[in-house]
Symmetry: C2
Subunit: 311 residues, 2 copies
């Protein structure tokens, strides 16, 4: 994957995404001992970076494929992202969701124009339902994170960050399914000035940390974390990129995640997801590493349920 | 008060304030039937527009006055604003606060360099304590809202908003002590293109609404509102400006305030105070008035206690 692909991807999706702002906080800088630059993808359309990858994936389809629609299985932000991106591009989106998914998430997908197909809450049932949609409508399956076009799309957030702040020493992103961290690492590699990529991950879902240790894709046996966007595992498309370009993955406790999330809300005055706070939590935990360095932080999204906050 | 004073004030305080961003939400626009432009003073230094007025008030003092420091009585944002503005300008700030004020607010004032003088939680005790500081140290008393230099400072938020969005038909701000709404109305008058100023006020603290009706400054007998920044009453410096330049004050219920606050958090992904949500609540309540109009909304601040959210 080369630099030109990322440049073309960014040009392609620009009309369909927001150029999100970068925020700073003097107090947080003092706490860390380094200037931090928060790339606020919580202000992205539908509230998360996933809009970028979804838009790119759909735009890369042939006209015939577009006519038949796209399908994914997700109960999280990618479901909303694919629905909105498809709607914006005049393409039909089928979203396979467990019937147990919260009503608010179903409403959000429908609000963005996605058609929900409910299934049992198991991975097997989701995959079967997706297959059936592919066969019935000729729809193209788009994976939320293990898809090259999706990875490139997610990388455009870091590309924008480096365009406005070219001399970052580090960029730190949360690690879930691996799409964001892989795209970020590619962008840092191609557009940074010796900029290193670091991942933040909950101890409770540290499959990526263990995968880098063992050299093969590891699974989470449990994933009892508040960072609900990070429960998924890496895939064969993003893992090699992560192996090659990510310097380190730093693991954090649930308490550290909530504390970092609170700091972001209180000091940056923005609403972010627990998953987003994992990157700042990792920096706060290992702040000696970052002293006097310029650090970019990916705030991945802002879709939280205000009725169930951890504080 | 003329246009030139506002221009000079803005030039004076610029090095000490943030130029805050303007955010929008397609969904909220659809709900109202009009494009809304949210001027985000929750991103202002210390988290509220009050930084503007505090900075201007101190900068207008003589060198001798600056040497002797400033004093105010407030347990809210103005206490923090005066502390930080004074600190930034190398001036001593004495803040009279009731000893019953929340520890978090006392910590914030101290964190910004203010010296707290505790007193009994009555207006009489506050005024007495302030007088004593004035006499003891020769400090200059600065009123949070009924002070011409403060009013001008607060007006610079609307001035910035109109510089980036010159054709607003309306600008809507919450009404508390009257400093923000008076400054906003002046800025709309001098820098707008036929831009009208409207105030939002809780039914539970509708002194300004009643004051405009009766033609004299009315008091709140009770002020049982979640919008704790709006419990104060107008003063003789800001009331004449409000009478002359504010078209209307729209009152909203507590339920409407919480609902608007939630909408701002969920859709704009920002943390704002209940007081800030009163302006949007007023627009949502009377949306026929605003159909197809361009409407500016002053988000006044973002200092909330995350342990005591209304949702």
């Amino acid at each position: 994957m080369d630099k030109q692909l990322l440049i073309e991807c960014h040009r392609r999706i620009k009309p369909f995404i927001h150029h999100t702002p970068v925020l700073t906080s003097r107090l947080i800088d003092e706490m860390v001992g380094a200037p931090l630059f928060f790339k606020c993808e919580n202000f992205q359309r539908m509230g998360a970076f996933k809009m970028r990858g979804a838009a790119n994936a759909i735009m890369q389809l042939s006209e015939k494929q577009k006519q038949n629609g796209v399908v994914t299985h997700s109960s999280g932000n990618f479901a909303q992202a694919l629905s909105l991106a498809a709607h914006s591009l005049g393409v039909k989106a089928y979203i396979v969701m467990p019937h147990s998914a919260p009503q608010v998430k179903k409403n959000a997908v429908r609000g963005y124009g996605g058609q929900i197909i409910e299934c049992e809450p198991t991975l097997e049932a989701r995959e079967l339902a997706s297959k059936q949609i592919e066969e019935k409508y000729g729809a193209t399956f788009i994976h939320p994170s293990n898809d090259t076009t999706v990875i490139l799309g997610q990388g455009t957030a870091c590309k924008e960050l480096l365009e406005s702040h070219p001399n970052l020493d580090y960029v730190v992103a949360p690690v879930g399914g691996g799409g964001l961290i892989a795209g970020t690492a590619l962008a840092a590699h191609y557009f940074g000035n010796q900029c290193k990529t670091i991942g933040g991950e909950p101890f409770e879902a540290d499959d990526a940390y263990r995968s880098l240790q063992s050299g093969q894709i590891e699974r989470n046996s449990t994933a009892n974390t508040i960072a609900d966007g990070l429960k998924t595992q890496l895939g064969d498309r993003n893992f090699p990129i992560i192996q090659k370009h990510v310097e380190e993955i730093i693991r954090v406790t649930e308490k550290e995640i909530v504390s970092a999330m609170r700091l972001i809300w209180e000091r940056l005055k923005i609403v972010c997801e627990p998953s987003s706070a994992v990157a700042l939590a990792a920096v706060l935990k290992t702040k000696e590493k970052f002293t006097q360095k310029k650090v970019g932080i990916l705030i991945s999204g802002g879709n939280v349920d205000l009725d169930h906050l951890p504080f």
